[in-house]
Symmetry: D3
Subunit: 280 residues, 6 copies
């Protein structure tokens, strides 16, 4: 539909009314985080959401770059039950790639658009207290599970109108640094701050069933799709953590296609949304 | 140009960056204040500007309705040198029409759009201290000139995220209520709060010269147009007060066409703007 | 009793101790609102109460002036079961007379005495959300019942040491403006802000029974007087709303004679008080 | 003049308007501090002044009781040029009588009237930093001159709506405690907090000249009266410090008769005042 | 053990981490309050505890000096069941010695060490509301029991980084001043502010049993020692009030030897502590 | 000298008095940043300084690790006039090593000691705005000079009792990330926040002249030592920026030996200090 600029603004007014003052946690990953044009439009998207009064918290991933940098440094990558086997050298790569390279690039790009981003990680002011993840039948090394989120630190940034961009690794009470899953970290943050929405930006259209996109997924539907083997692979823990998050008080979880320009704005500023919306 | 909703939002981002936290005073009058559709779009326009972080202060007029209501009440209207001759009975009509009827209608319409408006007048917490306007060669009655604006009251509303909508009459130090010119009241407010912009919404395209719209008017140009008799009538005091306002620290004064839908948004969210921009 | 000025001040000290920091809602009406000398003394009375630390909220009436102005504008007034039949034209008169004329006169007079009053109405920041009053067997038009009071707005004024003066009409969630009963509006405000006292200033000495004033009226006594037909007319809803208010947490309701000079001070600064005190 | 209670209240309104938010320093001494009835009325007077919004700071004396208690403890009192000769044992008596006995009695009496008094002395949070007073031709021991007043401490009490009652002794930077003159201490406090008024309550009607009271005393008049030997004795340093105080920004200094009941209220709530008013 | 300065600092770090932001009430008495060197080291000790972030509240005694000064003033001292018989003249001595002499000396000494102390008593802002202590079979005069502690006043001092030093007497609701037991006053304060620790500094090593020091005393042990007559004299009420305090939420009560230099620091900065620790 | 723990604490009291509330910027580098024991003692040292009320800001280096990691990734390191030649790939290494590896390790170690550290870099909330450093006769790539420091961000951390740990790279107004010299970054921060002290921890005893340590170095002395070629190499820019910093309002600059355990505490808690103190 052809619309003038002013008509568009008026059309988004009800969404602004609905969401101002609310908090959204965005898991940022996939193509949206690696392709130049999508990176730029993402930076603009989160900035505009912040400008209209939404509190934005970003948790980013970075698995591919970790593998690449590890390879360049002569460290072989192994996955055990979907977890990256993480020894001390790999933890250093995780820190370097996530908190050093990717986090700072995201922050710089958002700040160029006036988004007032600050990049932190799970060790800063003990943001993510973690403990060793015990995987049955295998030692996966320094992979951790988040047990506590320092919401005071996040609250300080939000109340100072700053946008926290979080590199997902955690710290044990003994100072050990653990690699943590970015999807689960985003869910932990959303739960801890009682976010209005948790949005996963990745390289899929959403949850697919029988070749077509599921617009809305209830918990009982998802159980069925899991049982029937329709939902598989990396989507399984994502779906499971999404429903835990919903049970913990987050209002909605969305899985949207980060390969599409401005998918975040489309999700938020249209009634129909895009991708899959998960509801209890 | 055809644009998708998300492209429009991205396009307005630089304007949001430019104006957030700034204060705009809008003199609201003419058709924009009397025609139903324009009233509604105006209410939406000021609400969206407030939502993106601009402090909006509205000063409204209401001359025609004052004359009509006076007539119905059997009070004849006389103009002396462009000023409404104002006796005690006319002051009552001014208060009733401005602070009672028009002000509350504007407030109700903005609040329906979630704009958090509060209607006040120059007597509330002595917002406008005024003194009798002395017109050479004529007694025009209870017409006043604003000598002091209570910026603390306006500041309280703005810091509480409320939008003040002001009925333009003032009060003397002895409690006498004076009719004041709405254009001059808007200029007095803009000056007192050191507004970024003062925008006049009225039933003209802007300042016209030789049949065409003047996009940008400098003070020296305006002197010439006044001397040449190109600018005439009610535009004269408007132009004069505009330049006083600019001298007093307001950054820009705009005269835009309130008969055009969303003219306020068009002015603010386009580089070229609309109407006439007055600069020092 | 003859007293020196300083003795009087000392005598009022215990009352100041008792009431400072408390909130009083005053329903202002009758002669106190129309006779010049009483208007002036009322303005001084509320100002002195504010100066010694009492939070004053005024809700005013204006029925007679509405009828007069409507008549002048050629609109006939009808009462149905004690309610003013209110069509769109009458709503405009209500707004003009209450929020335009009376409200601003009260505000100006209080401010001349340094009382820092601000006049608002039920539409400002949605102070009074109302719905259509359904009267059995009759359509009385745009008469409303208050369903929600915006206490945040009132709190803002009080914490900024401003005295809110409220014109009693409300707004529906669809933006319709409703005429509301001033006595009930005062009771709604007192209930919402959990006032210490609600004081009705009107043209009667108080509640009368058998030709003499009832000093203190309990709920059971009032039931009896209502059943016996001793309390009649406009006093009935006043009494009923008074007891609802007491049930809702207001400490005391007073009905005092506004025709007597300084009746408000007399009520507050003497042990015996004046008029009728209603207690649970 | 016979006045009703409510008329009196209305009459004091302009004085309340004039003084609310201002700070008065009261030097409290003489009969007002020793006779039971006057003590009680003084406690009520300062409380009512506080209740109507005036910041009250009391500096009290206690010379006679110091002499009496010293005598009972077998310590002889000597005066040198009007200064009490103060050795270590006398300093202990000064502390005991001023900060222990008198200060706490004043505080208790004011608090019984709900005046929220807190008694402190010059050593508390180093309120009065003092240095040894060097008297020409004589060693008068531990008598000090105030060189710095800790206005932050006083400000903390006032902003917490507490009334500081100050025992006048000071402390050197080496911890030595010095006896200081109460009149000068009151003047030092008034100067440091930029008080609106400094009021001396003592056992004289005011400044007398030729047998009659001087209502208003200018600095030039006072020079003359001093030169002519009309002003003598303890009044000399009082007058001198009063004018220094006026030069330092205090608006008015009053000397009033503490033997008269409610003299403080009479001074403040009448146009003519009582006693002597000193002006630059 | 020989330690360098920096090693000591590092060694105390865990104690700082443990106690910063916590509140300690110190009952200050005995030799620590009378011998010059111990007075100085105590002033330094409380200052350093304050500097590292512990909120310190001091309640001091002064029984011996009261008896001495009373004697010098010709007032005989009598003890009834361990309580000082207190008539009006004795109350004056109590006020003078506690609030005048001792309190101000402590304050001055702490302030010389930059500890920002302010001396107050139970009458200041009604800090200790007390009632007459009724002793069975005897009238002991103006001896009181604390019934309410004004924690707001204490909170004001602590939040302004000031150290309150409290002279232990109280005030009745009728203004009567009562002598109160300093140990019980300290316990009342500790209970009211929910202190982390209450520390009694006195002239004993701690609780002794069979000639040796009891390091840790549980409530059941103490019952036994009381029943067996091992604990006697002034230690009995101290022990009883200590356990009441622990029941009321204070975490630990310590009885330590004030005759030992820096005993307060030793107790707090060593794992083993000194003296007796009382636990529930 | 042998000292008991409590004597040491008392001895440091004057230093605490002197420095509490002040801000120290510590340039952290050399062995102190690479040897395990020194890393741990440094983490304890800054924590204890923070606990006693000093605001600590850390700027760290990391040159050697950058070179090593670059080498492992197949990137050759070149130095031009002492500047690291920095192309895009090297910038990535700088970000990874500084903000990813080193910064997070320092933060984790301090937080294990309860120091509440948060690691940030120059791109976070545009902390360091930089521009390309133009080196005469050579292009050294993406090496930048800091032109503006965002003190608001630092202030937010300090007022929230958090310790900022800063990775020294900056961002241009166009989003380009620049490698910046850590010594100069520390000086820029100290200047911007008007620090009390700027302390350089490195692998030298201090400024050496003729084989012995210079305890205090004035600007004129330093000019002479520079002219005589006594001060050479990397010490030259350090000395120059130190004096610029002193001119800009920082009180003192210290160069101390990070190879010595607790050198930071020794410098601060002894009168003689260690290393070289630079004064104007």
């Amino acid at each position: 539909m052809v619309q003038s600029k002013e008509e568009v603004l008026i059309e988004v007014l009800p969404y602004i009314q609905k969401y101002e003052g609310k908090t959204f946690v965005v898991k940022y990953g996939g193509a949206a985080q690696t392709e130049q044009e999508l990176k730029t439009t993402f930076a603009k998207d989160v900035t505009i959401l912040k400008k209209i009064g939404i509190n934005i918290i970003i948790v980013h991933g970075g698995g591919k770059e970790i593998t690449e940098t590890a390879y360049k440094l002569g460290i072989e990558t192994q996955f055990v039950n979907g977890h990256r086997y993480t020894d001390r050298r790999m933890v250093d790569v995780v820190k370097m790639v996530l908190a050093g390279k990717i986090n700072k690039e995201i922050v710089a790009l958002i700040n160029q658009n006036d988004g007032d981003a600050v990049g932190i990680s799970g060790v800063d002011d003990n943001l993510f207290i973690a403990e060793k993840h015990l995987e049955e039948g295998a030692d996966i090394g320094l992979v951790g599970t988040i047990t506590r989120v320092n919401t005071a630190l996040i609250g300080m940034f939000l109340s100072n109108k700053l946008m926290p961009v979080i590199a997902p690794f955690g710290v044990g009470t003994d100072g050990t640094i653990y690699n943590v899953n970015a999807d689960l970290a985003a869910a932990a943050v959303a739960t801890a701050v009682k976010a209005e929405k948790l949005v996963y930006l990745s390289d899929v259209e959403g949850v697919m069933a029988g070749g077509s996109l599921v617009s809305t997924l209830t918990e009982s539907d998802s159980r069925k799709l899991l049982d029937d083997g329709v939902i598989t692979g990396g989507m399984i823990p994502k779906i499971n953590s999404a429903f835990s998050t919903l049970h913990a008080g987050v209002n909605k979880v969305h899985m949207i296609d980060g390969r599409r320009k401005h998918s975040l704005l489309l999700e938020i500023f249209t009634d129909e949304g895009i991708g899959t919306e998960l509801v209890r």
